[in-house]
């Protein structure tokens, strides 16, 4: 008999949960606004951003050259410069004024000047100086010019040095070792081409997931509250703590399932279509994304109690999106965060999920190497679940009081 009643209460609980799920699904699919947030945004944004950053790197940056030397050496230097992937000579000018004018007009993005003494300096064994004028306003232009010009300068210098040394009786090998006592081998881990999309898109994908989840949950809760305002505040009453838990979990299951499908597109198809780093397999990503989705959902459920109408969730979404990108540590290095911003950063699931996802997918980390991120996301899942429960429980108590008051006044 006892056994039967236990299984029966379990059955009722399960029924309550599936009822909550069905109800949430009905709300989502009958609300065009929510459907846009849940489906259009996660589908359109990644594609749009991928196209915006499609060429990924700045190549053949147009520059002006002012060759005062006009010698075989300077022409060879400029030929090599033109041949680098980073820059391309767009104009040979006769004065710095002319170069500056082209620069102001935006026709060239940098200037390289070779002094008239260039070939004499080299012949006489004096150090020759090449000047590069770069535009710092656009970080990538600056980087392209400096990378291209440094490379050619080092190569030219090395060749001159080796030639000078062989003239004094060194063998080729001796000259090479003297010019380069150490051989330097550079290894860029992840994103060796320095593609801009590979920097930004992985972070953006994760951020979109969290922001749309919080927004969608918030819009639905805000709409319910908006519907009720004006009339007696009979905010949804629950049967008790157990029912609140079943409601929260039932709704969470719905969002989790929807996003499990969306992630196949955002974290599966998009990187493969556009050639973003894909070092992690399905299971590894799943291990990170599962606590991320759950913590984002419970964060959304917790925040949703504060939204008074449909618009307030949108306000939060707009205000937080860009700062959260900066807080993640993807743009400004984490090692330079003050303790205050470290703490604020830790409050949002997107921060750890972004760095975890980049480590997994771009740097090829193993699941064990991102255990810090995964662990923190589980902690957040638990913490936001408790907070969401407490917030809803508080509302439950309050509306019970309100109802008693209302009934009380009716009796009088």
């Amino acid at each position: 008999m006892k056994n039967w009643s236990q299984s029966n209460s379990f059955y009722i609980g399960f029924q309550q949960m599936t009822a909550a799920m069905r109800h949430e699904i009905r709300l989502i699919f009958s609300d065009a606004g929510v459907l846009i947030i849940l489906f259009a945004v996660p589908l359109i944004y990644p594609v749009l951003y991928s196209f915006i950053y499609y060429p990924e790197v700045v190549r053949d940056l147009p520059i002006a050259v002012f060759d005062e030397s006009a010698s075989a050496q300077s022409r060879s230097y400029l030929r090599n410069l033109d041949a680098t992937p980073e820059v391309s000579i767009a104009a040979h000018v006769r004065s710095m004024d002319e170069a500056a004018r082209l620069f102001r007009e935006g026709k060239v993005r940098g200037i390289v000047q070779i002094p008239s003494t260039f070939s004499d300096d080299i012949a006489l064994g004096r150090q020759a100086t090449v000047s590069a004028y770069a535009d710092m306003e656009f970080f990538l232009y600056y980087k392209a010019l400096v990378t291209g010009a440094s490379f050619v300068t080092l190569e030219t210098g090395r060749n001159i040095q080796i030639r000078n040394l062989t003239k004094t009786g060194y063998t080729d090998r001796q000259a090479e070792v003297t010019a380069e006592p150490l051989k330097l081998v550079e290894n860029a881990m992840a994103n060796p081409a320095g593609g801009f999309a590979s920097y930004g898109i992985p972070a953006a994908l994760i951020l979109i997931i969290q922001q749309t989840l919080v927004l969608a949950i918030g819009i639905i809760a805000g709409s319910i509250r908006e519907k009720q305002s004006g009339s007696v505040p009979k905010i949804i009453e629950y049967g008790g703590p157990g029912e609140i838990i079943r409601q929260l979990i039932g709704k969470a299951v719905v969002y989790f399932l929807i996003y499990a499908v969306l992630c196949q597109f955002m974290l599966g198809l998009i990187p493969s279509w556009f050639g973003y780093p894909r070092n992690a397999d399905f299971i590894e990503i799943g291990i990170l994304i599962t606590p991320f989705l759950l913590s984002s959902i419970f964060l959304g459920q917790f925040l949703s109690v504060f939204f008074k109408n449909r618009e307030s969730a949108m306000l939060l979404y707009l205000f937080t999106s860009i700062p959260l990108l900066f807080l993640s540590g993807v743009i400004w290095p984490l090692s330079n965060f003050s303790p205050l911003w470290q703490m604020v950063r830790a409050l949002f699931p997107s921060s750890d999920a972004m760095t975890g996802y980049i480590k997994l997918n771009s740097l090829g980390a193993a699941t064990g190497e991102i255990s810090k991120e995964t662990g923190l996301l589980w902690v957040m899942t638990a913490a936001y679940f408790v907070l969401a429960f407490m917030a809803h429980f508080f509302i439950h108590i309050r509306s019970k009081h309100l109802r008693e008051e209302v009934i009380g006044t009716d009796m009088n």
């Binding site: 950053y53 102001r104 590069a132 330079n336």
Partner: protein, 402 residues
């Protein structure tokens, strides 16, 4: 004329009463814009990241290798926080994110240098973060080239060459890099100068669309229009004027942070700064009117604004240049006042260039002010007929009775 001015005043007074009744308005117009300004300033106030954690795998363990480690440690940018035993261990630390890069000093480094066997030094850095990756690459490359050059110099000194000759021999060509208009390579200035206006445009758009949309949603639009003497131009002017004033003050506060606190050099008269800030606020208010006029249902107007405002971060072209995007985005980018503002900031204020070069951008920004006139009729009809009010979907009605 007098009548019009009176009506504008009436609408403005009405708006100020409405403003003081809701906390949301205070949030969007004042608290959040100022908070976001302080956030970006405080997050990156060091200007250039310093003391980023790196590692050295020292397989040599000699005087030379220890000197190299010290040299890396004392550069302002890096800090040697660990010395892993093996490359595998260092790679794992890199993947965990504990270090941004590491250098591998091979066995027998010192002996190989002495014997002119050209030992190989490898260095690794993670390149999945834009600023950190670029800095690590520059820093490690520079340190190791300096080391290599130093050995070259020492050997030549031992052979008895004189110092002046040596420098020219070791580095026959040197590159002198000049930065135009922004003589400090300061990321904080670079990022903050554009991100602050981008955050502000979010709030201006949001507030403009909300303040008009809420009149339609709450069916107060007819009374609003009556106060204005039934002129939609007067109604809009009177309503948005207080916001123009507040956002203009917020923008001047941002300018104060940029030019006085962060110390960005200003090469134009301060009057230009005032003018461009005012045009900036007005042009975004105009875009806001255009959006809510186009989609008088507030929620749709807000969605459109959100889409447009967030996109400005990418399409204004400060992170990734617009010229290198597919051509359609080059035209699209012109549709953001912040892009023109950025041009004026860079060419006129920062570089002190002639007004002539910024003129097209001023004209573009003024063009935005014409946008509202294309939707005036539609907006007025929406205000009168209040036919853009959305009833919540049926499912919401069921819930409260459940």
């Amino acid at each position: 004329m007098k009548r019009i001015l009176f009506n504008i005043r009436q609408v403005t007074v009405r708006e100020i009463f409405r403003m003081s009744s809701g906390s949301l308005i205070l949030m969007v117009t004042l608290i959040l814009p100022v908070a976001s300004t302080l956030f970006f300033w405080s997050l990156m106030k060091e200007g250039v990241p310093d003391k980023m954690p790196v590692a050295v795998v020292d397989l040599d363990q000699t005087q030379t290798s220890r000197k190299l480690i010290r040299n890396i440690d004392i550069t302002p940018l890096s800090q040697v926080i660990m010395q892993p035993e093996s490359i595998a261990e260092a790679l794992s630390e890199l993947r965990k994110g504990n270090i941004y890069g590491f250098v591998v000093i091979p066995e027998n480094l010192q002996a190989d240098i002495l014997a002119s066997r050209q030992p190989v030094i490898s260095y690794y850095y993670q390149n999945s973060f834009l600023i950190a990756g670029g800095l690590m690459q520059n820093d490690l490359t520079m340190i190791l080239h300096t080391l290599s050059g130093g050995i070259n110099i020492q050997k030549r000194e031992a052979m008895g060459q004189n110092e002046e000759e040596i420098m020219a021999q070791v580095q026959p060509v040197s590159l002198n890099t000049h930065l135009l208009f922004n003589p400090w390579s300061n990321y904080s200035v670079y990022v903050t100068s554009i991100v602050l206006p981008i955050m502000l445009q979010i709030f201006i758009l949001l507030m403009t669309v909300y303040s008009i949309g809420i009149e339609i949603k709450e069916k107060t639009s007819r009374e609003w229009l009556r106060t204005s003497g039934k002129s939609v131009v007067v109604a809009l002017t009177g309503k948005l004027l207080p916001y123009t004033a507040i956002f203009f003050i917020v923008m001047m506060f941002q300018n104060f942070i940029l030019y006085k606190v962060l110390g960005i050099p200003m090469h134009a008269n301060v009057g230009w700064l005032v003018l461009i800030s005012l045009i900036y606020v007005l042009s975004y208010q105009a875009v806001g009117i255009f959006f809510i006029g186009l989609l008088p249902l507030m929620r749709h107007g807000l969605n459109l604004s959100a889409f447009y405002a967030i996109l400005a971060l990418s399409l204004c072209g400060f992170s990734y240049p617009v010229e290198y995007m597919p051509s359609i985005f080059r035209f699209w980018a012109e549709a953001f006042p912040v892009r023109h503002y950025m041009h004026i900031f860079q060419r006129q204020i920062l570089a002190g260039g002639d007004l002539f070069y910024s003129l097209p951008d001023y004209l573009f920004m003024l063009l935005f002010l014409l946008l509202p006139f294309t939707v005036l009729y539609r907006l007025k009809s929406a205000l009168i007929h209040q036919n853009h009010i959305e009833d919540l979907p049926q499912s919401y009605h069921q819930i409260t009775h459940a």
